[in-house]
């Protein structure tokens, strides 16, 4: 047994994967070789250090919260996957702008400036597109957008659904979600749009008037 053999067999030796005869030969060499004894000692020290290499324990509730979020977000992703696209061409429809992070809600032109919340007016049974515009300072992956509709207001293609959830990603800059609405009753009401990302969420309201 030579030093070269020790170097070749050191992993199996440390892992206890050698047969007894080979182990005995290695032991015999190590006993008489300062260099190999030093190598084995270093290997044993490294083994102990790696076994002692810690992982911080997550908060007690972390696993429960992670599971709950996974089912919530995962279910939303399964239901629908609408990807918002970057804000590009001219937008003819009503705009509702929302600045994420700064909590600044803008009331752009075309929306009732007297009201505390933006509003949009639509005719009964006539579809109208409302573009929700989100400005984000950074990319937001795996954000969840939830739209809650008042009675008698529907998203075209989602008849009878009062709440619709999308899993989406926001790019840095402006993002637009065109929401094609139709009023089935003359009552109107408030539409709520909530965006969730990580532990943060923001909700804004749009008053829908029907004429």
């Amino acid at each position: 047994m030579s030093c070269t053999h020790i170097n070749e067999k050191i992993d199996d030796y440390m892992d206890g994967a050698l047969d007894d005869a080979t182990t005995a030969l290695l032991d015999e060499h190590i006993e008489s070789c300062d260099s190999c004894r030093k190598t084995i000692k270093a290997a044993q020290s490294l083994h102990g250090l790696l076994k002692d290499y810690p992982v911080p324990t997550p908060d007690a509730a972390f696993f429960d919260q992670a599971l709950a979020k996974a089912t919530h977000v995962g279910a939303a992703r399964l239901r629908n996957r609408w990807i918002m696209t970057g804000f590009g061409g001219a937008i003819a429809a009503v705009l509702v702008a929302w600045i994420i992070g700064g909590m600044l809600m803008q009331t752009p032109e075309g929306i009732d400036p007297a009201a505390n919340i933006p509003g949009v007016t639509m005719a009964l049974e006539e579809p109208r597109t409302v573009n929700l515009v989100f400005s984000s300072a950074t990319t937001l992956n795996d954000a969840v957008l939830r739209v809650s509709l008042p009675t008698g207001i529907e998203v075209v293609g989602f008849a009878g659904q009062r709440e619709i959830t999308w899993m989406t990603s926001l790019q840095a800059g402006k993002n637009i979600l065109p929401l094609k609405l139709i009023a089935t009753t003359p009552h109107g009401g408030e539409l709520l749009a909530t965006l969730e990302h990580d532990d943060r969420d923001r909700t804004f309201r749009i008053r829908v008037n029907v004429t």
Partner: protein
């Protein structure tokens, strides 16, 4: 097998819960920081929820789940950049790292242990990603070569060779640094 919407959450939790601790440890080993590990872990749970129909068909899903996490990490390396394993001069190490991991021993022993862990952190950071992963999975977390093969896709022979070279490099780095 299709699972009804009502049962998806319950089935998901029943299948995943036994693996959460190991999965979290794996995420932490790959990322090296609590925040990044939690993000990676959460991302993967969301992903796994979408693959529930496939998951229920697997008799022992441990390695399969780990592979999903590993692939997600590899695909998003830049996002989950290893925070803790950065090469810095002694004294410039960020606070709140290993010092926040108290051991069961005396303060002197704890200080020595923390110092050794810091040196190990630095030595691991010097390894290539493949070498670091094989050490962390096999020597630290105790995964078998066959499991690591299933997770990373690399053949067992390649993994053994990587481990041999990685251990030798670590021994040299730590010996040169005076740890051994």
């Amino acid at each position: 097998m299709n699972i009804s919407d009502q049962n998806r959450s319950a089935t998901f939790e029943r299948l995943l819960r036994p693996h959460l601790d190991r999965l979290y440890r794996f995420a932490w080993r790959l990322t090296g920081s609590k925040a990044e590990a939690e993000d990676l872990f959460q991302d993967v749970l969301v992903k796994l929820f979408g693959q529930l129909d496939e998951l229920v068909e697997i008799e022992k899903p441990g390695s399969w789940i780990s592979r999903v996490l590993y692939n997600h990490f590899i695909d998003n390396r830049r996002r989950f950049a290893r925070q803790r394993l950065v090469s810095v001069e002694e004294g410039q190490l960020p606070p709140g790292g290993v010092d926040s991991l108290p051991g069961p021993d005396s303060p002197e022993r704890d200080a020595e242990r923390a110092d050794n862990i810091m040196r190990l952190d630095k030595a691991l950071a010097e390894l290539s990603e493949e070498h670091r992963h094989i050490v962390l999975l096999h020597d630290v977390e105790g995964y078998k070569f066959t499991e690591i093969q299933e997770i990373t896709g690399a053949p067992v022979g390649t993994l053994k060779s990587r481990l041999h070279r990685a251990r030798a490099r670590l021994r040299k780095l730590l010996s040169d640094g005076g740890t051994f």
